[in-house]
Amino acid sequence: MVKVNTKHFGEREVEESKVIIFEEGIFGFENQKKFVMLFDGQPEVSPFCWLQSLDDVNIALPAIKPELYYEDYNPEIGACYIEKIGEVKEEDLELFSIVVVPEDIKKMTTNLKAPVIVNIKTKKGIQVISEGDTYGIRENLYEQIKSDSEAGE
């Protein structure tokens, strides 16, 4: 186990195997190379997780698994980018999209254009920009979550 200082959850113990190496950092934080994905409670209770930097405690970005709310989510990503973090095998890859939560939570958006991809086998991650205009950088997530939970009731 490694001790991780987190921005939102104090000190947490995380299995060493959960540390993800981002050799290129992520956009805007190119110098941050080590992250962990923190979950706040059970995934069925909250879909939000946090990409917490191990290099700088103040850097923690909320994220979701986009397929939870965008069923047909299928970004076009060059294999050459995914190869940077290991073999391209769908079962080894997890996709996350970064969430921005402004003061007015109804304006919450997620970046479907540039997903974060984690290879759970190699423990490496990369953020990539998908091709084409199918997905936006600021897709409204609040509406999506609300309509989904209403449909589930």
Binding site: G28, G78, K84, I98, V99, N111, A114, I129
Partner: protein, 74 residues
């Protein structure tokens, strides 16, 4: 910044393996063709910058965001 004049159909070479060709010129727009190795990422700068800014905005959330998100899911 290095400035080069090129005509339609002409190419510049960057390093050993990147080529940029002016494909078409239209009033205030030019169309560029780019040949580069597969692992070189090429993006419109404004998209690249927007994504950087979006990540920074995501990281700059106030501390009460966690509880706000929890309340929202109730």
């Amino acid at each position: 910044m290095l400035a080069l004049s090129r005509k339609q159909g002409e190419t510049i070479v960057i390093g050993d393996d990147i080529e940029i060709t002016v494909l078409a010129i239209n009033k205030d727009q030019i169309k560029l063709g780019i040949n580069a190795p597969r692992d070189v990422s090429i993006h419109r700068k404004e998209i690249y910058v927007q994504i950087q800014e979006e990540n920074k905005a995501a990281a700059e959330m106030p501390n009460d965001t966690v509880s706000k998100l929890k309340d929202m899911m109730k």
